[in-house]
């Protein structure tokens, strides 16, 4: 037996922290960290949906797998872009205007 309140609260907190991280950080890499937190919060939510009742086509298991993979792909591109930007701008400060 498990209460669903727990996962929901954790998910909400993680997403909130992620939003905060995205907004507060000036370092582009650390913005990524915030995004990862939002994603992990969402994962908790997704998984919780499948933990108690069978979701259609096991979506609550499959979708997290997709999300993790997409996120990995994104991170790869993101880091490449960040490195390029660093190469050209000399910094990855998000506040730096063009």
């Amino acid at each position: 037996m498990i209460h669903l309140l727990g996962p929901y609260v954790v998910a909400a907190l993680l997403v909130g922290l992620g939003v905060m991280g995205v907004l507060a950080r000036r370092n582009a890499v650390l913005v990524l960290v915030g995004v990862e937190l939002i994603l992990s919060g969402s994962l908790v939510l997704l998984v919780a949906a499948g933990a108690t009742a069978p979701s259609r086509w096991e979506a609550s298991s499959v979708l997290p797998l997709f999300v993790i993979t997409i996120a990995a792909a994104e991170v790869v591109v993101a880091l490449a872009v960040i490195l390029t930007a660093f190469r050209h701008r000399g910094s990855i400060d998000m506040d730096e205007a063009l």
């Binding site: 669903l4 909400a12 909130g16 922290l17 370092n27 890499v29 908790v44 499959v62 993979t69 880091l79």
Partner: protein, 168 residues
């Protein structure tokens, strides 16, 4: 309050506290490391919820690959080992970010809590079933995912190699 609840609470607490530190710490490398902790906490949560496969993938992909990449990126962009003063955001902005985060949390809680209901039986999820669905029903997006990965690979390669001077 069941034992599962307790276990979940522990993992969740770990994840949240680590997440908080990850978004607030001044030391960029620490932020990445705290992220690892937070992700481990999340993985624990997933385990408690019965999704071993997802938890495993999370740990493998995120902790094993993503965070390492992040660390590399931090190094390559010459992040200081100590507190990163160059990228310190002003206090008002941190406060605003905190407010935005809190608002998001509140919004989500306001929507989620009413549907939480009472304790329910945890469902056993068989990896067999997941695999069947993944390669049965979900085969089409799964293939699309592979294309995405390929494209991302090429993209990352192209970006990091660059092409000097020329423009389209």
């Amino acid at each position: 309050m069941t034992s599962l609840d307790l276990a979940f609470a522990a993992c969740g607490l770990l994840a949240v506290v680590a997440g908080l530190l990850a978004v607030t710490t001044r030391q960029v490398v620490h932020a990445a490391l705290w992220l690892v902790v937070a992700l481990l906490g999340v993985a624990g949560c997933l385990l408690v919820l019965g999704h071993e496969l997802v938890a495993l993938v999370l740990v493998l992909v995120y902790v094993g690959a993503v965070v390492v990449l992040v660390l590399f990126a931090l190094m390559l962009t010459r992040a200081p080992i100590g507190p990163d003063l160059a990228h310190a955001a002003p206090v008002w902005r941190q406060a605003a970010a905190a407010v935005a985060g809190a608002a998001t949390t509140a919004l989500l809680l306001a929507a989620l809590v009413p549907v939480a209901g009472s304790a329910v039986e945890r469902r056993e999820i068989s990896n067999q079933a997941v695999a069947t669905e993944l390669f049965g029903t979900w085969v089409w997006p799964f293939e699309a995912l592979s294309v995405l990965l390929l494209a991302a690979l090429i993209a990352a390669l192209a970006i990091s190699r660059g092409r000097a001077g020329e423009d389209t």
